[in-house]
């Protein structure tokens, strides 16, 4: 009995806590991309520039957020458990060896949605509540 109450309380506290601190983030693609779902490793491969196309051959066009947007730090913490300094260190290696450029960065979720909706290979991340008919949710990052 006590155990059940405790679990309820903890769950409530967890939900309240998480809804205040961090929203649930989702990875979204262009609704016409033909991609229905992705695995964590597939998402990692795309956001780290390792793979530049979807399984159907469409070239991916990822978009990232600026450091000032707290969702950027949250996204990489949930996806790979890394701090932004480590993400930026990773990209500095790619850029300064001439291997590849980092995904462009925009300011807000609305900019991400616009980017993804405007490009067949568009892929980005937003809060679950912001994902609308323009995009398709292919991966959920639980806080």
């Amino acid at each position: 009995m006590i155990g059940r109450w405790l679990r309820f309380l903890l769950l409530t506290a967890f939900c309240l806590g998480s809804s205040v601190a961090t929203a649930e983030l989702v990875v979204v693609v262009n609704a016409r991309s033909g991609v229905a779902a992705m695995t964590r490793n597939e998402v990692i491969n795309i956001f780290f520039g390792r793979n530049r196309q979807f399984f159907n051959g469409t070239e991916v066009q990822p978009v990232d957020l600026v450091d000032a947007n707290p969702q950027r730090a949250q996204f990489y913490r949930l996806l790979v458990g890394k701090d932004l300094s480590e993400i930026n260190a990773y990209w500095s290696r790619q850029i300064f060896t001439g291997r590849m450029q980092a995904p462009p960065r925009v300011d807000s979720s609305e900019d991400v949605l616009k980017w993804v909706a405007a490009r067949p290979g568009g892929i980005g991340f937003v809060e679950l509540s912001r994902a609308d008919a323009r995009v398709r949710v292919v991966y959920e990052l639980k806080p």
């Binding site: 260190a89 500095s92 960065r105």
Partner: protein, 403 residues
């Protein structure tokens, strides 16, 4: 570096123009990578300080440096400033130029045009580059000067000392293929080497020496595994005769022929595993270098590095080792002297911490305990053979940044 310096030995003109142009673009542009089809200028740098506990040898970052650190603090060894301009003309075409200023084989910080290349990606998984390119003889070899991109103050010396090659005039091709949830990546390059390697007060010209190589890599989840191979065929002999003459020794024709480097080929094999998961970073690298010239000993080296991030702090611990293989004694004392100079036999334990205290800036402090034999001379400069006992401690601090 060599080309630029030799063709412009007298005036600072051309060097200054390159740097000024880069700085001007940077100052005027206020450039950020925010959109495609544009022009960006970015940079990286390190302010480093290093000292050892001996003045019997000079400690260098790699054999491209003519002089190194002793038991007094110096900022020369690790400090660097790099500026890079990228023009993404279309999603397929990229033009990149990088200028770098660091302590070099001519004992100067004169800016060098590190790379200038055109990159063309005909498909998302195929990439072609041509021009002046960085070489990736070993994993991470082409980002050795971008301190912000790695954990330690400098890449482990026992593993990287023997790699004074930085760029080629040539081309490379890289192909990426998904395999399961992982990615296979292969790369091949060919080109002509540039520059020179300091030897005593002389320079070993490695210009126009053909280099070829490639690697195959598999990356899945937290794991990355890579095997690579490269070779270089030297076009010029080591300046052994001149160096020996300064020591009052004469190199006979027979000895010169025995120590010949011209026309010999050196092979580089390496294997690396990287594990990167959340706060954990671990690397294991092995290499084997097969030298073609009798003047240089073949060697095996390895390093292991483990780091664990705690908030903004990442303490790390590592071990590296290098052993070279003697070719036997010669009847000539001069030949023996030269061959001894390329011997290495030592282990290094290193420990340090990286502190990411601000955005795009990291502060590092590191200790290296070098424990080797007194015959381990190759990694160093200006060795005092009579006193060097193969043991020293190295203390380093660096401030690494990107912008």
């Amino acid at each position: 570096m060599f080309m630029l310096k030799r063709s412009d030995r007298s005036g600072a003109g051309r060097r200054a123009v390159i740097l000024a142009a880069c700085l001007q673009v940077f100052a005027a542009g206020g450039v950020q990578a925010e959109d495609e089809g544009n022009f960006t200028v970015r940079g990286f740098g390190t302010l480093g300080a290093v000292r050892t506990t001996t003045d019997d040898v000079e400690f260098v970052r790699d054999l491209s440096q003519a002089r190194g650190a002793t038991d007094e603090w110096t900022a020369k060894t690790d400090s660097v400033l790099g500026l890079q301009a990228d023009w993404q003309a279309t999603p397929q075409w990229l033009v990149a130029v990088q200028a770098i200023s660091r302590y070099d084989q001519h004992r100067s910080f004169n800016p060098q045009l590190a790379w200038a290349f055109v990159k063309y990606d005909p498909t998302p998984n195929l990439s072609l580059r041509a021009g002046r390119l960085g070489t990736e003889f070993f994993m991470m070899a082409d980002s050795r000067w971008v301190g912000y991109s790695f954990l330690t103050v400098r890449p482990p010396g026992d593993y990287f000392w023997y790699l004074p090659f930085y760029s080629i005039h040539g081309g490379d091709v890289a192909l990426t293929l998904p395999l399961g949830e992982g990615i296979v990546r292969g790369k091949a390059f060919y080109g002509l080497s540039r520059g020179s390697i300091p030897l005593g007060d002389e320079q070993w010209n490695i210009r126009n020496s053909p280099m070829a190589g490639g690697y195959l890599e598999y990356q899945s989840g937290h794991w990355q595994v890579r095997g690579s191979y490269a070779n270089i065929r030297f076009e010029h002999d080591l300046p052994v005769a001149t160096v020996m003459a300064k020591k009052g020794l004469t190199l006979s024709a027979a000895d010169a022929d025995y120590l010949r480097a011209r026309g010999t080929r050196t092979h580089y094999y390496s294997f690396g595993v990287v594990y990167d998961r959340g706060p954990v970073q671990a690397q294991l690298m092995l290499n084997h270098i097969e030298q073609g010239s009798h003047a240089l000993e073949s060697s095996d080296a390895a390093y292991f590095l483990f780091g664990y991030r705690l908030a903004d702090w990442t303490p790390y611990l590592g071990y590296s080792t290098v052993r070279s293989h003697r070719r036997g004694r010669s009847a000539s004392a001069v030949v023996n002297y030269v061959m001894e100079d390329s011997h290495s036999d030592q282990d290094t334990v290193f420990a340090g911490v990286r502190w990411d205290f601000a955005r795009n800036v990291a502060l590092k402090a590191q200790w290296d305990g070098v424990r080797g034999s007194a015959a381990s001379l190759f990694p160093y400069r200006r060795d005092d053979r009579a006193n060097w006992d193969g043991r020293m401690n190295v203390f380093s601090m660096s401030l690494d940044f990107v912008f």
